[in-house]
């Protein structure tokens, strides 16, 4: 019998597993809702021994690190065993309150952006900030920000980073995939400049864009170098975050992708390939169909979440691109959350043909939203299992 990790690896390489891995990721707030609906905390709470309260006491104490309901619910967590390499600004900006009204808070975030949050929204995640100002606005602010993006900063690696220990940990982990995660070229730029400014700059200051993207390639490769060269193919999958599309299509045209992004993608994916890391999963919401040829050319070979509402069709991609991409997701989260007939229709229509075609791991087409009750998730789990 294969372990969950072996199943993930098999499907990601278009081999047949003994059963399909069912892969999910839920908002923390969805899990909190599930506690209220009967999810037993004792079965899903992750508790670790460590020095008390962040190192303030020379005592070994138990600390709640979070919740992992995935194994309990019969699925794999998308993030599996995630290597904690810090790709943010160092030193970090200190998060602090800037302004407050009766309805909103304005905060300086850890990335240096000013963000407005709703005080009245019921869910913290769903009151996700609206950014009102970004730290990088032009060439001058970019050069200033770049000082915080030093790949050699020792704080980028976990404080217990020790190659032999991590090699052992990455060899023995079997609950799911082992993963290295970082931001792609669009994701990084949009996060530092804001979507409108970053998109506009390809026309208004293309030289600045070339400069930023080139630096990001250097920063990414040098930041992950130690992890990649140490762990090599013990890293099952790289998670490459972009989020560069909406329902209409990508935010950038194929022409911009080819000119500004493609050479840098190739250099990063070549670096990974040299270290035998051969599965690279791109996370982008929205409709990425118009640039899928370029994404394939770039060395990316996995796609998640394949958002149905944006017109992404896993069957169509598999038929068009063959084994160029392994696929995760593409089950419409809204239909799944409805339960009953709607959920069954969605699963019936996609999972059997995709299982037959191979290279597909079923799951919702994004994080499981708070609208999905625990009972509905269990119903969905019980139903999908017949196809795994």
């Amino acid at each position: 019998m294969m372990t969950p990790r072996e199943r993930f690896e098999a499907v990601a390489h278009f081999r047949k597993p003994d059963q399909l891995p069912w892969v999910e990721n839920a908002y923390d707030e969805t899990i909190l809702q599930w506690f209220k609906q009967g999810l037993p905390p004792e079965d899903v709470t992750v508790i670790e021994w460590e020095m008390g309260r962040g190192g303030t006491a020379l005592a070994n104490m138990t600390t709640v690190k979070g919740f992992n309901p995935y194994r309990y619910l019969g699925c794999q967590w998308l993030y599996g065993c995630l290597l904690q390499v810090d790709v943010g600004p160092l030193p970090r900006y200190k998060q602090r309150l800037l302004n407050e009204t009766d309805r909103h808070l304005e905060l300086l975030t850890e990335t240096g952006a000013k963000a407005r949050r709703s005080k009245t929204a019921r869910y913290a995640w769903y009151s996700m900030p609206m950014f009102v100002e970004f730290p990088v606005k032009d060439r001058e602010t970019w050069y200033e920000y770049r000082k915080r993006l030093d790949p050699e900063d020792p704080k980028r690696y976990p404080k217990d980073w020790d190659t032999e220990d991590y090699i052992r940990a990455f060899e023995t982990y079997q609950e799911g995939n082992t993963m290295l995660r970082f931001n792609g070229f669009y994701g990084f730029g949009a996060e530092l400049m804001g979507i409108p400014t970053f998109n506009l700059m390809f026309y208004k200051d293309p030289e600045l864009m070339h400069d930023m993207i080139e630096y990001w390639e250097y920063f990414t490769v040098e930041t992950i170098r130690s992890a990649a060269e140490t762990l090599k193919d013990r890293i099952d999958v790289v998670y490459w975050w972009e989020d560069f599309a909406d329902r209409h299509g990508p935010c950038i045209s194929p022409k911009i992708f080819r000119e500004f992004f493609l050479p840098h993608y190739k250099r990063v994916t070549d670096f990974l390939a040299k270290n035998k890391i051969d599965r690279i999963l791109m996370d982008s919401d929205g409709n990425i169909n118009p640039i899928l040829d370029l994404i394939a050319e770039s060395g990316i070979n996995g796609l998640w979440p394949l958002e149905v509402n944006a017109g992404m069709h896993a069957v169509g991609i598999r038929k068009k691109y063959g084994e160029k991409f392994f696929l995760i997701g593409n089950l419409d989260k809204i239909e799944l959350a409805k339960g009953g007939e709607a959920m069954m229709r969605e699963v019936d229509a996609k999972v059997p043909p995709l299982k037959e075609l191979g290279g597909y791991m079923p799951g919702a087409d994004h994080l499981i939203p708070v609208e999905m009750t625990l009972a509905r998730f269990r119903e969905y789990g019980n139903y999908i299992r017949r196809y795994l």
């Binding site: 949050r117 709703s118 019921r122 979507i195 390809f202 208004k204 299509g249 950038i252």
Partner: protein, 213 residues
């Protein structure tokens, strides 16, 4: 004369560098071409070309944003010449992100396009209470009410807003357009909107059709 307008329109449609397009515009102004004609027959036509290319999958968000920025630059040049002229407006749109939702990128792209296309846009901002939409309808009498939402959890606020408009007795005076990443076409019909746009260009096309004279 038509060549002058067409050249400006094509330059915008091709997303020429701002400097080149400004030269065309300044040349037209110095030849004594009527500024409001430049706006209506050159700039707005140029934006229509951009919209068509967006719908055809040739242009994307970057191109829309650059076109908007280009048009804003050109409009700035024309401002003095337009001081004593009347530009024909296509109609009035009241616009906002519904209560509980503070996201505005999509709304702002739509506003920029609608502004440039000749609509008078009253942007009420984000996290807008239904009563604020109703007050605006009573105050400015828009032909279109545009409601935006990014978050699925704020979709009920779209319905609440439409219900409030109905309860205030002003529903029949305008058409309601929904937009934003959270909305689907079926949802719009279910809650009594007149149309749902999946992107800003589609939304603008719908407003144009609704306000055609």
């Amino acid at each position: 004369m038509n060549d002058v307008f067409e050249n400006i329109a094509q330059a915008i449609g091709r997303l020429d560098p701002a400097e080149n397009t400004k030269i065309l515009l300044n040349s037209a102004v110095s030849q004594g071409v009527n500024a409001s004609d430049i706006v209506e027959k050159g700039i707005r036509r140029g934006l229509e070309i951009v919209g068509q290319k967006y719908e055809a999958g040739e242009y994307f968000l970057s191109e829309l944003l650059y076109a908007g920025s280009l048009v804003a630059d050109l409009s700035e040049i024309l401002k003095p010449a337009l001081k004593n002229q009347r530009i024909q407006m296509r109609g009035v749109i009241a616009l906002g992100t519904v209560k509980g939702d503070i996201h505005d990128i999509g709304k702002n792209v739509f506003r920029m396009l609608a502004d440039s296309a000749g609509f008078e846009v009253h942007d009420l901002g984000v996290d807008v209470d239904p009563s604020v939409f109703v007050d605006e309808i009573e105050r400015s009498g828009p032909q279109v009410l545009g409601l935006s939402a990014l978050l699925t959890t704020t979709l009920p606020e779209m319905k609440n807003t439409i219900d409030s408009v109905r309860a205030a007795g002003v529903r029949d005076k305008l058409r309601i357009l929904l937009g934003g990443n959270a909305v689907k076409k079926e949802f719009g019909s279910e809650i009594g909107a007149d149309a749902t746009a999946l992107d800003a260009v589609e939304g603008l096309g719908i407003c144009r059709r609704w306000t055609q004279k």
